[in-house]
């Protein structure tokens, strides 16, 4: 993993920890949906998107939300749109 991807990953994990402090990043399946893994509801996701929006400094259209449902999805999305 290159430096840029690693930074992106750290920012996404920090945003996740802001919503689910009990999360152990080592137990996270990077491909699986957050909702199924961590019982995210709509407010959790809104908080998560807000943390991402602040960490990367980019607007995230609501239509893009489905791309942010997993760790790998987030990394792919923000690698293309670096903040």
């Amino acid at each position: 993993m290159n430096d840029a991807a690693n930074t992106t990953r750290q920012k996404v994990l920090a945003a996740l920890a802001g919503v689910a402090p009990e999360l152990d990043p080592n137990e996270l399946d990077p491909q699986q949906n957050f909702r199924d893994q961590m019982d995210f509801d709509s407010i959790d996701f809104l908080n998560f998107a807000t943390h991402l929006h602040q960490a990367f400094g980019v607007d995230i259209p609501e239509a893009d939300y489905p791309k942010l449902f997993s760790l790998d999805g987030c990394i792919a999305y923000f690698s293309k749109r670096p903040g």
Binding site: A20, P21, E22, R35, D39, D41, S42, I43, L46, N47, A49, T50, L52, H53, D59, I60, P61, E62
Partner: protein, 360 residues
């Protein structure tokens, strides 16, 4: 010690949030009380100067026990009264309800721990401090489960429920949400639950026999519409605090209050008026993939509206079958107060509001 919900007999004063000498306004947060439902921030019913604590932190007392003396402005006003020193607000540690409870069990000083961790304390911090290994288990604390069991058993025993369900076209709500959210920054976007709350509030205002309390063998309708929202806690359990006066608030204000409420509740900062004052409740299952929910009324309320998950299904519009996103609303109401005919009118109005959501 205020009564924070039906069935509460005692509460433990966990922490004072003010110091003697503080000027208190009605509604100011003055103490944290530990109940079976978790920690609740208690608001003052009185205005004046807090002169004396009557209960020390850590003490369990029956509901109705005075916690402190607050002198009203009239009583202490006089030429000899010394103006009390302005009191610096106490920094509030951010402690999850389960962490607070566990700290009590393990004898960990939560304030000292919060000072070390920089203000935020979770279950793991508490167990580390106590030297106990962390066992991840998403099971509600025993007290919370008991409180839910007691409330629900009483409701099932005492309230003659009847249920009515209606599946409705939800696409107009979702389209409206999409349009509104397209021009809003991420933190201000709306979730559809807020439109459900507003619609139920307006229906409750129009049909007063679903909005209020059953007390002393009669129904007391409420002028205000305070919609309780069922919120699941990350570490297990359920609470249903109120969004006050939801019928008269805009969607953006309701959204801000809803977000604030959920985040505070999950951080262990629910307020006493929120837990004590809902007049009707909404329970939405979100994206859990259930078609419908048959909720139990929170005594002493007389109605609750449940919403299943959004389901895309064949739907007939003007004689043609189209794929449409739908949601099923279920009204559970108290037969001592209303009957199925009025319940059907309530649901029909709810359908009208949600299928033409411009009025919300």
């Amino acid at each position: 010690m205020p009564s924070l919900g039906a069935g509460m007999e005692t509460g433990t004063l966990a922490q004072w949030l003010v110091q003697p000498g503080a000027h208190i306004k009605r509604g100011d947060l003055i103490a944290v009380v530990e109940t079976q439902k978790g920690a609740i921030d208690v608001e003052s019913f009185e205005a004046g100067t807090l002169t004396k604590f009557l209960v020390e932190p850590g003490t369990e007392v029956p509901v109705g026990t005075p916690l402190a003396v607050i002198d009203g402005a009239g009583e202490t006003a006089g030429s000899e009264v010394v103006k009390p020193e302005p009191v610096a607000p106490i920094e509030r540690p951010h402690v999850s309800p389960v962490a607070r409870r566990r700290a009590q069990e393990l004898g960990v000083d939560i304030e000292a721990l919060a000072a070390r961790t920089g203000g935020s304390v979770n279950l793991e911090d508490v167990e580390k401090a106590a030297g106990t290994p962390h066992k991840p288990a998403p099971v509600a604390p025993a007290g919370m489960r008991q409180a839910i069991a007691a409330t629900m058993a009483r409701s099932k025993r005492e309230i003659p429920h009847y249920y009515l369900a209606a599946t409705l076209d939800f696409s107009a709500v979702l389209n409206r949400l999409q349009t509104m959210n397209a021009s809003l920054p991420v933190p201000e976007r709306l979730v559809y639950g807020v439109l459900l709350v507003k619609a139920v509030a307006l229906a409750a205002k129009r049909f007063p026999e679903f909005n209020g309390y059953w007390v002393d063998d009669h129904f007391e309708p409420s002028e205000r519409v305070n919609v309780g929202v069922a919120i699941s806690l990350r570490e297990g359990g359920l609470v249903a605090p109120a969004l006050h006066d939801a019928d008269g608030k805009s969607l953006s204000i309701l959204m801000r209050e809803f977000l604030d409420l959920v985040n505070r509740v999950r951080a262990g900062h629910m307020r006493s008026s929120e837990i004590a004052e809902p007049t009707i409740t909404v329970s939405s299952m979100g994206e859990q993939g259930v078609d419908s929910v048959y909720p139990i009324i929170y005594s002493p309320q007389v109605a609750i509206v449940g919403f299943g998950s959004i389901v895309e299904q064949p739907w007939v519009v003007s004689g043609k079958v189209v794929a449409t996103r739908t949601i099923t609303a279920t009204l559970a109401a108290d037969h001592r107060v209303s009957d199925g005919h009025r319940g059907a009118l309530f649901l029909a109005y709810l359908r009208q509001l949600l299928e033409k959501p411009e009025a919300l």
